[in-house]
Amino acid sequence: MGTPYGGFGVFALFLLFLPLAVTNDYYLNILIFIGIHSIIAMGLDLLMGYTGQISLGHAAFFGLGGYISGILTAKWGWTALAGLPFAILGVGLIAWIIGVPTLKLHGHYLAMATLGFGMIVFIFFNELVPLTGGPSGLTGIEGVSVLGFAFDSDLKYYYLVASALLLSLLLSINIVRSRVGRALRAIHGSEVASSVLGVNVARFKVAIFVLSAVYAALAGWLYAHYITFLSPSSFGFLFSVKLVTMVVIGSLGSIWGGIFGAALLTSLPEFLFVFEKYETTVFGLILILVMIFMPRGLLRGIEDMVLRVLESRVKGEGSKG
C-alpha cells in the first residue's frame, strides 16, 4: 500500500488547486457531484470491497440523508447544519435496524434483501407526499451556512464538498489500516476462520454496513443543500446500480477505486451528452465489458497491465510480453 498518507496529501493539494484549472462554473458543478458520489462510493467500497458484502439499495441511504435534513430545513425551518447530525444519526439507526437481519444473508439473498429495502424506501419517498412532496419533489431546502458564512456559490460549495471528501477519505484510510480493517478483510477471506479467531463477524458486518450508510447520508446531506430540491427519482434502483458500478469498475477494495469510479461514471454522461439516447445502452455495455475483461476493476486492471509491461521489460529478450 506504500504510504497512503503521502497519496492523501498529494490528493488534498490537488483538490485545493483544482478549481484554478476549471474555467467554467458548469465543470465546477460536475466536480461537486463527483465529490458527492465519491463519498458514497468510498463507503460502499468499505462494505463491498473490503468486507466482501453487497448492497443494491444504497441509493436509499443517500436519499434518506437528503430527505431527513431537507425536510427539517424546508418544513420546520431548521438550519442545514442542525439537520446534519439528525440525518447521520437517523440513517445510522435505520441502517442498523435493517442491517442486523439483512447481513445474516449471503450472496444473492443479501443482494435481493438490500434491493428490496431500497425499493421500499423509494416507494415511501414517492408516497409520503405531505412529508416529502412526493414525485413533484421537495423544494425550499436551505443552503448551508456555518456561523454566518454562507456556502452560496459553486466555488464555496466545492470546497465544502472537498473537505467532506477528504475527511471521509482520511477516516477510511485509518480504518482500513487498523485492526478493524484487518478484521473486515478477514471476514471477506473466510467468515468461519475469522470467527474461530474471535472476530464477531455479525457485529462487524452490521457495523460496516451502518458506516457505509452514514457516508451515503453525508453525501445526501451535501446533495440536498446544494440543489435545494429533492425528487425521489434520483434515489431509485438505477442509482443504486450506478453506485455499485462505480465501486466495482473503480476497483473493489482499493481506497482510491471508489473515487476513480465515481469520477468516471459521473463525468461519462457529459461526454455522451450528444448521444443521450444511447447513454443507457453504453452504460450497460461498459458494465458487461469491464466485468468480462477487467473484473478486478479499472484501477487494478491498469495496474496489472503496467506491471506486466514492466515485468516483460525486465525479463528482456526471450519473454513473450
Binding site: 478477514a186 473466510s190 468461519v192 476462520a193 474461530v196 479467531l197 464477531n200
Partner: protein, 255 residues
C-alpha cells in the same frame, strides 16, 4: 496439575438427517496433553471439531471447556474463552499477507474499534505497534519470518499449514485444535510439524489433533481417542490403543 479436564464432551451427538455423524460421544482432554483423535475416514472426527468449536450446532449433548459449558455458544465467544482451531481444508486469508494473517490471530489481544481507529488515537497506534511486534514474534517461533510480507496465497503448501497454525497460536489459546495438520505434508515437513507441536505443548498450550498420519500420532501423543462412525471405540495411551482389537477391526475392516 488440574484434575479437571480442560475440555470434555458429554453424550455429544450430531445427526444430519438420517446420518449419525456423532453418536453419544463422551471424552475428555487433559490440560498440558497432546491428544489425538483418530479413526477411519468418515468417522466423524471433523464433525466433532466443528461441533466443539461452535461451527455447527450439536443435536444433543454438552461440551465443557475449563468446566464451563460452551455448548451452542457462538464460535467467536468460544474463541474468547481460549479455544481455537485450524481447518482441514486450510482457510487462510489469502488476499492478506502472511504477517497480516497472524495479526488477525491477535484480534482478541487488542481492543481498537471503529472510532478509535478512525481517529488514530495514540493508544491505538501503540497497540498496533505491539500487535505487529508480537505477530513477528510468532512468525519467528515457527521460523517463517522471511515470508512476512508476501501474500498468504503465494506460500508453498507446507508453509501455509504452518501459517494457519501460527495464526491460531497468536490467539494465545489454552486449547489449540488442529484438524489434519499433516495432510499433504511430506516426511520432512511432518517431522518439523511434530517438533513444532511439541514446542507448543512445552509452552503451556494443550493440543488436540485429528490426524490420519499414524507415525505422527503415535510419535507425539500423550493420549489417543479412537472414533468410528461417530462412536468412541477406544480411549487411552498410544500403546494400548494401537493394540486394541476394536481399533484394529475398525481400520482393517474398512479395507
Amino acid at each position: 496439575m488440574d484434575a479437571a479436564p480442560l475440555l470434555r464432551t458429554e453424550g455429544l451427538s450430531r445427526y444430519f438427517g438420517g446420518v449419525k455423524a456423532l453418536s453419544e460421544l463422551t471424552f475428555a482432554v487433559r490440560k498440558g496433553f497432546i491428544q489425538a483423535v483418530i479413526g477411519p475416514n468418515g468417522a466423524g472426527k471433523t464433525t466433532l471439531f466443528n461441533v466443539i468449536s461452535g461451527v455447527f450446532p450439536q443435536t444433543s449433548g454438552k461440551v465443557f471447556f475449563q468446566e464451563e459449558e460452551i455448548t451452542g455458544l457462538p464460535t467467536h465467544v468460544i474463541a474468547r474463552r481460549g479455544l481455537t482451531r485450524t481447518f482441514q481444508n486450510l482457510r487462510l486469508f489469502s488476499e492478506m499477507t502472511v504477517l497480516e494473517n497472524i495479526m488477525v490471530g491477535m484480534h482478541l489481544q487488542s481492543r481498537g474499534g471503529f472510532l478509535a481507529s478512525a481517529f488514530r488515537l495514540p493508544w491505538v497506534l501503540r497497540e498496533e505497534k505491539r500487535i505487529r511486534e508480537e505477530s513477528l514474534g510468532w512468525l519467528d517461533f515457527v521460523e517463517m519470518t522471511q515470508y512476512a510480507n508476501i501474500p498468504a496465497a503465494s506460500l508453498p503448501f507446507g508453509k501455509q499449514r504452518i501459517l494457519e497454525l501460527a495464526r491460531g497460536l497468536a490467539l494465545k489459546p489454552s486449547l489449540l485444535m488442529l484438524d489434519e495438520p499433516a495432510a499433504g505434508l511430506n516426511i520432512r515437513e511432518t517431522e518439523e510439524l511434530a517438533a513444532l507441536i511439541l514446542r507448543i505443548r512445552d509452552n503451556g498450550i494443550t493440543v488436540l489433533l485429528v490426524e490420519h498420519d499414524m507415525d505422527l500420532v503415535m510419535g507425539i501423543s500423550d493420549h489417543v481417542t479412537v472414533v468410528d462412525q461417530g462412536i468412541k471405540i477406544a480411549d487411552g495411551d498410544p500403546e494400548t490403543v494401537r493394540n486394541d482389537e476394536r481399533v484394529l477391526k475398525a481400520y482393517l475392516g474398512e479395507e
